[in-house]
């Protein structure tokens, strides 16, 4: 049954309300935008880890996805475009006890922030990087991004994107990430489990989440939000352990999702302590 809003005092709270800055809800994301779902999944994962909330911090760059840091009721940082990862690196190396989550978008993490991404992955910096991939630069109106599919329409490629997009899981794996997964917003429970795994493990964990951008990508490319979700439902194949080289995004042939890479590798802060700090028995 639905309850009259005036009776909210008797109605139980939304289960995630203790982690949301409810004074800023409703948030800025458009109707049908998947960022809210990824964000909600991330909060559920944070709860599920059982780790005390004050051990967490969220860092983001600039963009629609990056606004997530403004809605989480934990220590959070909304930094400059593309620079969330080095900012997070500074936090992690200065205080390795913290669980640092980077929550940002594909343009922020892989175009302007590409260099920082590959180096953090190379060093296996103990971060959880959640990339909301909506195949475009949403906040600024739908320009072509490094992940925009070939021939897709955008404001800066009005006749179709001439370039090929990145294969993000392959890029992350090649750079050295020790956990690489891709889900869509439809597989919400798998996504929550993946984020939980990523937070709980040590190492550079990269989770790409496909999400619709109904206004700036969808409308230009004749995809209503439910059409995009239909694609996620019909044209994705869960293949855990798949070769990241097969993970390019082509909905015509089918998009693989799942956990591709999950290996054990010592982290940057562990190795720094082992190698660069003096022995205590000097």
């Amino acid at each position: 049954m639905t309850t009259n809003p005036k009776k909210l005092a008797k109605q139980p709270e939304h289960p995630l309300d203790d982690l949301i800055r409810t004074d800023r809800i409703p948030h800025i994301w458009c109707p049908g935008c998947g960022i809210g779902t990824v964000f909600s999944s991330c909060l559920s994962a944070i709860k599920a880890t059982g780790i005390p909330y004050n051990k967490f911090t969220m860092v983001s760059g600039i963009g629609c996805s990056a606004r997530g840091a403004g809605y989480i009721k934990l220590d959070s940082f909304h930094t400059t475009h593309g620079r969330a990862i080095p900012f997070a690196t500074g936090i992690k190396m200065a205080n390795p006890e913290l669980k640092v989550i980077v929550f940002s978008g594909d343009g922020d993490l892989f175009a302007i922030g590409g260099n920082h991404f590959i180096h953090a992955a190379r060093r296996n910096m103990d971060l959880t990087v959640i990339c909301v991939n909506n195949l475009t630069y949403g906040m600024t109106g739908g320009q072509v991004a490094a992940t925009t599919p070939s021939m897709a329409k955008s404001t800066t490629t009005p006749l179709g994107n001439p370039d090929a997009p990145f294969n993000l899981p392959l890029l992350a794996y090649a750079a050295g990430a020790s956990y690489v997964a891709r889900w869509t917003i439809l597989q919400t429970r798998d996504l929550t489990t993946a984020i939980n795994e990523a937070i709980s493990r040590k190492g550079f964990s990269f989770i790409e989440v496909l999400s619709p951008c109904p206004i700036n990508y969808g409308r230009r490319n004749k995809e209503k939000p439910l059409d995009t979700l239909k694609l996620y439902q019909d044209r994705t194949i869960i293949k855990n352990g798949a070769d990241p080289a097969q993970a390019d995004i082509d909905f015509a042939k089918g998009v693989v999702i799942g956990t591709f890479i999950d290996i054990d590798r010592t982290t940057c802060d562990d190795r720094y302590n082992q190698i660069c700090r003096p022995c205590n028995d000097d």
Partner: protein, 91 residues
């Protein structure tokens, strides 16, 4: 739920039931909960919320199985379900 004959372990099997709560003013009318509810118990209502969207309304209150899918797919934190007394299976 109706069966053509009652299963022998009908007293042991209980179907979870839930109550759906909707925070009308957070809804942006995206329709995901309505589309993906496995029991099809949500529909767009005719009323408007503060921002002019049509929030969902539960059309078949006794049929929610507390799967929480509306809760986790909703991008707006506007809908969630809470477990209630399980229903007994009967003919």
């Amino acid at each position: 739920m109706a069966f053509w004959r009652v299963p022998l372990d009908a007293q042991d099997i209980q179907v979870t039931r839930g109550t759906v709560y909707i925070i009308d003013d957070r809804c942006k009318g995206c329709g995901y909960c309505i589309e993906f509810c496995p029991k099809d118990i949500l529909q767009f209502s005719d009323k408007f919320n503060r921002k002019g969207y049509h929030p969902p309304v539960v059309t078949k209150p006794g049929e929610c199985v507390n799967c929480h899918y509306c809760e986790i797919i909703c991008p707006e934190f506007a809908i969630y379900s809470v477990e209630t007394e399980p229903a007994a299976v009967s003919k």
